[in-house]
Amino acid sequence: MSTKGMRRAGTGLAVVGLLGLMFVYWLSFFWVSTEANQGVAQRIFYVHVPAAWTAFLAFGLCALTSAMYLWLRDDRLDRAAVAAAEGGMVFGAIMLTTGPLWGRIAWGTYWTWEPRLTLTLLLWFIFLGYFMVRSSTENPEKGKRFAAVVAIVGALDIPFIHLSVLWFRSLHPQPVVVKPDGPTLPGDMLTTLLTSVAAFTVLFLGLFMLRYALEGLHRELDARARRVAA
């Protein structure tokens, strides 16, 4: 797809995603029933879980495109990796702020060394390193390769980190949707959650495409500036 097409499609998806998000807010504030034990605070779940899903999707996409970049050396793959990593940072930050807010009420503490919480925090920092490596090389090609290496090692280390922090201890609510004997979440809550997951995913894809197009324009601009200078 051309940069222009990408920009159009990205804008379209982002608008759909934002409208979907407004609908999700309406659902989670006015429509869905209040959870019996946790009360209103549980409603943050409809933002937290989709943000978590999107962040992991984004980081996975970044690791995948990074590996493909090292193999094929197509600049577009690197652009996709940066765009995905930035999305992952944003949605990861949403997950890391909504989680403690809920935890303060449900667990009585903002922070605990709960496995999934810890894993996300570490993932966020791995990708912080991803951006720091990129921006601290004089030769941009080197920065791209280094960042790809960081993303791949990070992705391969994730199962290990997960196992180890799980071994350390667990307090997080257990899965309520994806499990062998079907979801245990009540119908209206499941509807709200799945709508929200869809809205977040569409929004992420829209932002991803916009960011990808922007990165393309940036590089074109750099190339032109270099030609003029030469």
Binding site: F125, G129, S136, K142, R145, F146, V149, F160, W167
Partner: protein
């Protein structure tokens, strides 16, 4: 295979020889370990906290911080004199260079890890617990996993303008499994739990080290490409 091994050992010998002539990195890491022990002594109220209970964490953190001090300079000499070009244009494949560098770092860090254990035992009057052998095995496997990851990222950070400052940011999140399993095993042995209880941890440390070595050997070529 024999050729490959001789290429790896050539790199190891080169690095160790340089180190034994200057003794810079060993001296820095060793001094760091002892001084960290001194500072820990004043940062803990030993009347309230039993050193035996917290020593495992202190030992591993000292190894991690001290290790970064030495490993961060792995490529320093080569970068300074443009000698990396020479190493890379040698007929040795890139993964052999990586393995050589990593093993040389291990040969430096493992004695430092033992020194940390010895010094802390002396300073805090530790009792080495149920199985000193398993303790040393856990330290060795942890140190191997540590150098495997940090040597790869030392190659990355030495090529950035942030240099060694970047190294902890890149490796700390990745080292979490090593610290958790390492401290878990060490702590249990120090308080005298049976060895069978920590074998799971030791196996995870071994798996971590193997994975880190494989990943490093596979990805090093992309770091030192030009």
């Amino acid at each position: 295979m024999t050729l490959y091994l001789s290429q790896v050992s050539a790199i190891v010998w080169k690095d160790l020889m340089l180190e034994f002539r200057t003794r810079e990195r060993l001296a820095a890491m060793g001094a760091f370990a002892v001084l960290a022990g001194v500072l820990f002594n004043y940062s803990l109220d030993t009347a309230r906290v039993a050193p035996q209970d917290v020593a495992a964490g202190l030992v591993w953190m000292t190894i991690v911080f001290g290790g970064l001090l030495g490993v961060g300079r792995t490529f320093h000499l080569e970068a300074q004199d443009g000698a990396m070009q020479g190493v890379l244009t040698s007929p040795a494949p890139k993964d052999a260079v990586y393995l050589g560098k990593t093993l040389a770092n291990f040969a430096l860090l493992f004695p430092v890890a033992l020194l940390v254990l010895g010094v802390f035992t002396l300073f805090f009057g530790l009792d080495l617990g149920s199985s000193p052998g398993t303790l040393v095995l856990a330290l060795a496997l942890g140190a191997l996993g540590f150098v495997a990851l940090s040597t790869l990222f030392a190659a990355v950070s030495s090529e950035t303008h942030m240099g060694e400052t970047l190294l902890p940011i890149l490796v700390f999140p990745l080292l979490v499994p090593m610290v958790i399993y390492g401290v878990g095993a060490t702590g249990r042995i120090l308080v005298g739990r049976p060895v069978e209880e920590v074998m799971g941890n030791v196996r995870m440390l071994a798996a971590f080290a193997v994975l880190a070595l494989a990943v490093g050997a596979g990805l090093f070529r992309f770091v030192v490409e030009d």
